[in-house]
């Protein structure tokens, strides 16, 4: 292989520019005023209007953007903690404990990963009506408390990260199974759990169809607020872009902080898939 490959780097940089440009454009428009957005050539440098736009965003009727942000933070955090906990628990059981029906039940979990659960939203909505959870965050959180993908991921991870001897030694010392899980297995699962936490947080934050079905505009998630903006203020590009920017910033922060782990997670999952 040659040492320098200018063409290769150039192609890759063009690719990265293409993948970053829409995000940059998101930022530029959010800092501009509406009368320059449609100009040709387009304004490619940030402008001075970000604070104005933010003010208009948080004051926008029907969008309830601040509440939407709060609801999304809350639901994503609760769902993440729950998915990580229950997935680690079940993943540990499937990887390291012996019980009747283990392989069959694991197969069930694999199959459910392929099922488009979204197709059940009509009865799911009826359940929420029965429970009185329409337009409440319980409707978003409770069905998402567990994840088949998460169980599978943690099972794969536990298989290689937790030595059998460790579990057996703890057992001989008289540890109960949950105690083994809590003080020995869970710490060993931490890197895998981090990847699951990141993807779960991002997935919950991005949830769109179900909140749109079960929530109302006065108690939205952030994606619901964005959809409100795009139906009510669709001529007001700077307002919509500011909303989209604010909705993306938390994900970007997570990505900048934990990007390496996310990449590792995607690539490891792929090897095993």
């Amino acid at each position: 292989m040659r040492k320098t490959q200018p063409l290769l780097y150039a192609t890759l940089l063009v690719g990265i520019a293409l993948s970053a440009f829409p995000l940059y454009w998101l930022f530029v428009v959010a800092t501009r005023s509406n009368n320059v957005v449609g100009d040709w050539p387009p304004p490619l440098a940030p402008g001075p209007n970000l604070w104005d736009n933010l003010g208009r965003l948080f004051a926008a009727e029907d969008a309830n953007f601040l509440l939407g942000m709060w609801n999304s933070l809350l639901t994503s955090a609760v769902v993440t903690v729950s998915v990580v906990f229950f997935s680690s628990l079940a993943g540990f059981a499937f990887a390291k404990l012996k019980f009747r029906g283990r392989n069959g039940l694991l197969l069930v979990i694999l199959a459910t990963m392929m099922i488009p659960v979204q197709m059940g939203i009509i009865p799911l909505y009826m359940i929420m009506v029965e429970l009185g959870w329409q337009n409440r965050m319980e409707a978003i959180v409770v069905p998402a408390l567990v994840s088949a993908f998460g169980v599978f991921l943690m099972r794969q991870y536990a298989e290689q990260a937790v030595p059998d001897e460790l579990v057996e030694a703890a057992r001989i010392d008289g540890c109960g199974t949950f105690r083994i899980f809590w003080s020995i297995v869970l710490p060993a699962l931490r890197p895998g759990a981090a990847v699951l936490a990141l993807t779960t947080f991002m997935g919950t934050w991005n949830e769109f169809l179900w909140p749109l079905a079960v929530l109302e505009a006065d108690n939205p998630t952030v994606q619901f607020s964005l959809s409100q903006l795009s139906t009510t203020y669709y001529t007001d590009y700077t307002l919509m872009f500011t909303g989209a920017l604010v909705a993306t910033v938390p994900l970007l922060l997570v990505f900048i902080a934990f990007g390496r782990q996310i990449i590792g997670g995607i690539m490891e999952g792929a090897v095993k898939a």
């Binding site: 454009w25 079940a90 404990l97 099922i115 970007l252």
Partner: protein, 324 residues
């Protein structure tokens, strides 16, 4: 579901017999710990199965039951057998949405996976700044879906959009991207392609890195060029990854919802444009169930989507198996 988890005590003694040996203890403590060892695995996996059964599997199956009724917001009406399905088969709006979904599926999946293949093979070279490059291609997946919809709706706007501006540079007339099937499909597929190419590229990259280097060395000795090596060594060796991404993109593509909905803007959003030119099946189901409150009919649409996904999954599986 839940009852399946509990085998009869008589049959599960075999499982308990395989637990590690314990030191002798007083009888009752020993018995408690034996019960604990036998049952705690079920307790550990129970939360998943209980919640999934109630909020995942049950609604999905119950959808079939609802679809056999004349069911609206006031509750269950008469049992109507397959009437909803008969109506659905004669419903041009439904078939239109199926057609749109499949069209966008092809426009979004094929270029996406091809670009991902190319990108992955570029990233598979000896490079500096590996983390930077990988994070760069993964940026789109971090952008929230609705935000993607908003940004690209503006980029593809007839009057203010950048795409028409660029087309103007080469003297092509401005395109009204929302007006026709092909143009709106292209715009929506662009969003999906943009968002997922880098993710798939990383999956391919991981698979490529597992290919033994001596395969390439042997091919070079035999005089095979880079392109030939790519098609004869790289692609066959990462086949499992390709099958995985094809199936995942198909499942996701059949449920396409957010991007076209945001692209729609304004009052016609859920119908995918004034002439339903980019309404997907998921949008049609949503429109029937949550705008017209026709739960029975909406459930029939949902089950048809479910069947379509299953059929496409099987077809995918058979094709990829035969091409072995």
């Amino acid at each position: 579901m839940v009852t399946d988890l509990r085998p009869s005590p008589a049959t599960s003694t075999a499982a308990a017999g395989s637990t590690p040996p314990r030191q002798p203890r007083s009888g009752w403590r020993d018995r408690i710990s034996r019960v604990e060892v036998r049952w705690s695995p079920y307790l550990f996996i129970a939360p998943f199965f209980v919640i999934f059964a109630v909020f995942g599997l049950f609604p999905l199956i119950y959808t079939a039951w609802v679809s056999l009724h004349d069911w609206d917001i006031t509750g269950a009406g008469a049992f109507v057998g397959f009437d909803n399905y008969v109506a659905l088969f004669g419903d041009p709006d439904f078939w239109n949405s199926v057609f749109n979904t499949l069209g966008m599926l092809v426009l979004a999946t094929v270029p996406q996976l091809l670009m991902a293949l190319v990108l992955a093979s570029l990233l598979n070279q000896k490079l500096r700044g590996v983390t930077f490059l990988r994070m760069g291609v993964l940026l789109p997946i971090v952008t929230s879906v609705a935000a993607v919809g908003i940004v690209f709706s503006q980029i593809f706007d007839r009057d203010a959009g950048m795409v028409n501006g660029l087309l103007g540079l080469v003297n092509v007339d401005a395109v009204d991207w929302r007006a026709d099937k092909w143009s709106s499909w292209t715009a929506i597929a662009t969003m999906v392609n943009w968002r997922w190419t880098g993710y798939n590229a990383l999956i391919y990259l991981a698979a490529m890195q597992a290919i033994p280097k001596d395969l390439y060395e042997a091919a070079t000795v035999d005089g095979a060029g880079k392109v030939r090596q790519f098609w004869s060594i790289t692609v066959p060796n990462i086949r499992p990854a390709i099958v995985f991404t094809v199936i995942m993109s198909t499942i996701a593509g059949m449920q396409l919802f957010t991007e076209p909905l945001i692209f729609g803007q304004g009052g016609f959003a859920i119908s995918g444009g004034s002439l339903r030119q980019f309404q997907t099946v998921s949008m049609y189901m949503f429109e029937k169930a949550f705008r017209d409150f026709d739960y029975g009919y909406g459930s029939a649409v949902a089950w048809m989507i479910f069947l379509l996904i299953t059929v496409l999954g099987v077809v995918n599986f058979l094709i990829t198996r035969r091409s072995r």
